[in-house]
């Protein structure tokens, strides 16, 4: 699986979250994802970007086009150097939040994509990667 294209978007302000959404929309449109798949990708991006900003104290989003000749996909990676997540299982549960949100960001994003991975270390930071295949 090759990375055909890559772009980064810092996530330091709420305006960056807006830019992140717009970038994901642009790339998803260029790859001709269906409207519903585009919406799912942009929504997942919004959740994860917001998490990186609100919980992770700021981070970065990387967009990559993946391809191997037969399959094409979009991978979004959200990385922060925030406090990290102590209990990943708990964090993935619907309704669980350490903030004032609805607790749907992580678990919800996972449902909106085909592949989801999360790594986190307390005191070091968190990295979430999601992929949607065409």
């Amino acid at each position: 699986m090759k990375v055909l294209k890559r772009e980064s978007q810092p996530l330091k302000t709420s305006n960056d979250v807006v830019l992140a959404r717009q970038k994901v929309r642009l790339w998803a449109t260029e790859l001709r994802f269906s409207l519903v798949d585009q919406t799912k990708l942009v929504t997942a991006a919004s959740e994860l970007a917001r998490n990186a900003l609100d919980h992770g104290k700021g981070g970065d989003m990387t967009i990559e086009v993946l391809g191997n000749g037969t399959k094409t996909g979009l991978r979004l990676t959200f990385e922060d150097r925030g406090p990290g997540i102590a209990d990943l299982d708990q964090a993935l549960k619907d309704g669980f939040t350490t903030g004032s949100g609805m607790g749907l960001g992580l678990g919800g994003s996972k449902r909106l994509v085909n592949e989801f991975s999360i790594e986190s270390e307390v005191g070091k930071g968190t990295k979430v990667a999601v992929i949607r295949w065409k």
């Binding site: 919406t39 929504t43 994003s109």
Partner: protein, 131 residues
Amino acid sequence: MERIPVLRMGPLLLITIQVDMHDNLALQLQDDVTRYISEYGSIGVLVDISSLEIVDSFIGRMLANIAAMSRVLGAETVVVGMQPAVAITLVELGMSLPGVRTALTVEAGMELLLGSVANTRIGSDNEGSQA
């Protein structure tokens, strides 16, 4: 500072959300809605989201908050114009939006709000009640 306009339509308030909402904008909107309901005695709030291409949990929470705050002040909220792709995504995201009623169009939303008020008016007789 930019602000989402809240329009008064008789006993109802109409809000059209067209821009990407920042946190402050959302808080400002919640403030404005509650203030206008108190000031005008509005009995219903229509939130038009037909321009929104995505509704994430932040917006969802704002809508649920508006509905909850309005209800405490005696007004019902109806969200209208949800795009189909948004509806599909919301369900998969797992957002149930408690206390938020929906309608397809502004007109349908108005009927919903005005109809429900007519039915709860004290001492109302049965003439003119909805189908």
